[in-house]
Amino acid sequence: MNKSIEKFLWGLLILALLVFPISFDNPYYEQLGSLVLLSAISASAWNLIGGYAGQVSVGNVVFFGAGAYMPLLFYHIWGISPLWGFPVGVVVSLVIAILIGIPTFRLSGHYFSMATIAVAELIRIVVSNWDFLGASVGLTGPAVSDRWSDLVFRSSMPYYYMFLFTLFVVLLVTYRIENSRFGYYLRAIKSGERAAKSLGVPVSRYKLYIFMISAVFTSLAGSLYAVKFGFIDPNSGFGLLISVNMIIIAALGGAGRLLGPLLGAIVLIPLQSETNSLFGGGGTGITYIINGAIIMLIACYEPGGLLNLWDRISAKYFSKGAPKDDA
């Protein structure tokens, strides 16, 4: 596509994201928008390890949980602002990433995925029995508060902009990596580890690095979730379903592509919410059937996600033959 058209579309996207909450005076849409952004952050973080490096981690929820527990823990025990928990969550997640990464990265494919599942479940069970962390009852944050540093806002708007800012940072980092040598190495690793190794790429080291970066942002997503919802327990913090959702969103939009996760979130979150609102009250579980069908469709027909689909459509209809050359 033409470079200037691309820039225009980018500008449009950024503008749309910025003014979205102001244009509708509707708390429900604001909330929805916040949720979309939050999911986009964790999915984009997952995208780094799963999409770009091709290591399908099903246990990223571990970082989410660590990030989510820290702010509420700080509030719960010392009554101080949850903000202090953010960096601590990041540090804890980094440590976990290193502890998991070093032994498991020499395992390939399925084994790595299974290992991440095992570690995630192990940590979830340990947390549910650890009284300091609230055991299975969980931790609550402030419900109403006077201090802005408690991050309790009645409207969803401040949260929205916090999330937007974080998303911007993740995407910026992803973009920089994508276009650097690091990114080149990751693509090599994704297409064939053995080949990459024989070419001299320090495979294990780079897998670990990208895993750590993924952990940092997933942790931030968790912290943001905790301050928005004001509650965390082992299931909402460490449940495997959260990890799976990250994967689905990233894959739906396009794993390994910069805007894939965001697109996936924009499509899937309102869809999930709408189907639950439309059908959920009936209690037939049809929301899940629809979700499942969608996921199967994507897996079968377009595993590259919607972005891939778009590429194919635009190649057929817009380029009229040979792809245009960008200056």
């Binding site: 909330q31 299975s136 509650f231 909402s236 499509v267 639950n276 009250g281 209690g283 469709l297 027909y301």
Partner: protein, 416 residues
């Protein structure tokens, strides 16, 4: 193939942006019902919604036999000129985040006057927080974790007794048994490891210690386990005089079956509501769990009584007897409806004030509470529970002994 694929994806987009507009009569009073309608607790959530629908019908349309119930005349809400109640159930999926999102939708999109929920204590925590932020009354019929009313909230009102009330009942019951000459020195607590089991068992433990009972086995287990033989064997090994189970349905059934297959019967078996009062429990293992003691503020009661008539309506709608959890939900619904009626308006502040001044007498209720009156934390201080026992395929009250339907059968009979 391509066409099919494209159509499916376009269909998805359209579905995303479609929205449904429902139309209600202008003067309907809307109440949001926040319950799990999918997932492992769906049967309880659905039963409660069914119960509330029956309650709404009794209030909205004349139904013979219910004139004694507040608003039972069937003419809608007289305080609002006969306005009818409209229920809007949502599915929390048992998930605190989803529950919060749906509650927000009920408040801001559906513009409900008030809310009722939520079964899961974790969901109750987040949903009441939203209601608190927006200043909408939220009535809790069934969630028992203590911390729900410990946050200084002004818009949360809990009608049901809580964990510490149940623990008090159990231990006092055991103490009375002891005073009547039975051996009750050692007890065991078996509880499932989520907020429900942990909070109830915590209170049981504390009160047991106060009464000088010795806890010989304190077994936390993971809900939905595939096998509980080890736990039952531990009980068999430690031989407690009474076992208190705090479990959801699937585990309750599994324990009953495992106890039979391992031939273990404690002298007294107490099952804390949830799993044990579930219709599925009675239906599948009732015949091998004869004599299990449960807590319930609800009993079907003798023929012709208010509770019996309500049960008949419930049976007609769902095909089975009403259970304690949905009954508590229904009672809370009546409390809320009564408050809205006294408020004479759907303004949140008016309903809040009306709830605060609630003072219902036991004759106006169909549950065994001593009345309904909220303290400054929003907790009903007159909430109380019976202890019931499974005899045949029904639970009958056995404690407090005064006014009980039947005398306690001791020891636990199981399958004998």
């Amino acid at each position: 193939m391509n066409f099919l694929k494209n159509i499916s994806i376009i269909g998805l987009f359209l579905l995303t942006f479609a929205s449904v507009q429902s139309s209600y009569a202008a003067d309907d009073v809307k109440i949001g019902l926040v319950y799990p309608l999918s997932g492992t607790s769906a049967s309880v959530g659905k039963a409660t919604v069914d119960a509330c629908e029956i309650a709404a019908k009794i209030i909205n349309e004349p139904t013979p036999g219910f004139e004694d119930l507040p608003l039972g005349a069937g003419k809608g809400l007289p305080g609002l000129g006969g306005a009818k109640l409209k229920l809007i159930p949502v599915d929390t999926q048992g998930n605190p985040g989803e529950g919060q999102a749906q509650t927000l939708r009920l408040i801001t999109q559906e513009k409900v006057s008030s809310l009722l929920g939520a079964y899961h204590s974790a969901v109750a925590i987040t949903t009441t927080a939203v209601a608190e932020r927006y200043g909408v009354p939220f009535v809790i019929g069934d969630s028992v974790a203590a911390n729900i009313t410990e946050r200084g909230f002004k818009w949360t009102f809990r009608v049901t007794p809580i964990a510490s009330d149940f623990a008090q009942s159990y231990i006092q019951f055991l103490d009375e048994l002891k005073k009547n000459g039975r051996t009750v020195n050692n007890i065991a607590i078996v509880f499932e490891n989520t907020d429900y089991g942990v909070s109830v068992s915590g209170t049981v433990r504390n009160i047991a210690k106060q009464f000088g009972l010795n806890i010989v086995a304190d077994l936390a287990y993971n809900a939905n386990s595939a096998d509980v033989s080890a736990q039952v064997l531990q009980l068999k090994d430690k031989k407690p005089d009474a076992v208190i189970f705090i479990s959801y349905t699937a585990d309750a059934i599994l324990y009953a079956k495992t106890m039979k297959s391992l031939d273990y019967m404690p002298p007294v078996l107490i099952g804390d509501d949830a799993g044990f009062s579930d219709f599925a429990f009675i239906n599948s293992v009732g015949n091998i769990a004869q004599g299990v003691v449960d807590r319930s503020a609800w009993v079907v009661g003798p023929k012709g009584s208010l509770s019996y008539k309500i049960n008949e309506l419930f049976k007609a709608k769902t095909g089975r007897d009403m259970d304690d959890t949905s009954a508590r939900g229904m009672q809370a619904f009546f409390v809320l409806a009564d408050a809205i009626n006294r408020a004479g308006s759907t303004k949140p502040e008016a309903i809040q004030a009306a709830l605060k001044s609630t003072n219902l007498k036991p004759e106006q209720l169909f549950m065994g509470y001593k009345g309904v009156k909220f303290d400054e934390k929003g907790q009903n201080i007159l909430a109380s529970t019976y202890l019931t026992q499974l005899i045949g395929n029904q639970y009958y009250t056995v404690y407090p002994t005064k006014g009980a339907e039947k005398t306690l059968v001791y020891p636990y009979k199981g399958w004998k």
